[in-house]
Assembly symmetry: C2
Homo-oligomer: 110 residues x 2
Amino acid sequence: MNHPTDQSFCPVYEAINVLQEKWTLHIIRSLLDGPKGFNELSRAVGGCNPATLAQRVEKLEAINIVSKTIHSTMPPRTSYALTESGQALQKVIEAIDDWGRQYLPEPVAG
Amino acid sequence: MNHPTDQSFCPVYEAINVLQEKWTLHIIRSLLDGPKGFNELSRAVGGCNPATLAQRVEKLEAINIVSKTIHSTMPPRTSYALTESGQALQKVIEAIDDWGRQYLPEPVAG
DNA sequence: CCATATCACTTTGTAATGTAAAGTATTTGA
DNA sequence: TCAAATACTTTACATTACAAAGTGATATGG
């Protein structure tokens, strides 16, 4: 909803608003190595509770970053994958990866 | 605190944890075009309330992404700038910028 | 010379968001 | 038949972010 004062639509600003939501980048990173089911994704993401994860993938589906495919309702079998837009975020994840390796200190072992 | 199941320390994972916090990327982006005072930064970021902003820059200072310089206490004059580590995040912001321009639709007027 | 603005925040109370824990309905494997 | 897994939802609680107002001091304008 917010945007810089001097401009009515700023793509970077909006992009940041999308990506700064908790778990979003983790979800995208997890899906970069292939489609996953809900619990599988949950395990890959690590630490996100199902209520939040469900809400987040729904949002990501709405803005066309993730696509959801229901293979069967009973037994339940769903898969989440990145769309073209989602795949394009690999560049962002790579940049974050590079930065992390260079600037985040490995915690010293006790 | 969280980390992938198969590894004890993952730089990407930690980096994402840092960058996914609300306003963090906005703050970094704002500081990329030079140091700013508190209210100046607040205006550049756009929409973040001072309590949150104060807390966020304090955290970013603690992990050495932002540096705070107090020029005078009275009248109050402070400036926030990016450290080397913070400057290095320009690559991340650029990647987000590219993605936003390509994949975020401009809202239709009217 | 008094009101107003600005600086860098802090405080207070409330709204939004995220959390753990448990539950649902069904199938598969031991 | 019991435990585990699938994909979630529900509930009650905790954390986080929010708007609005306030603080103390100085500089500016009428």
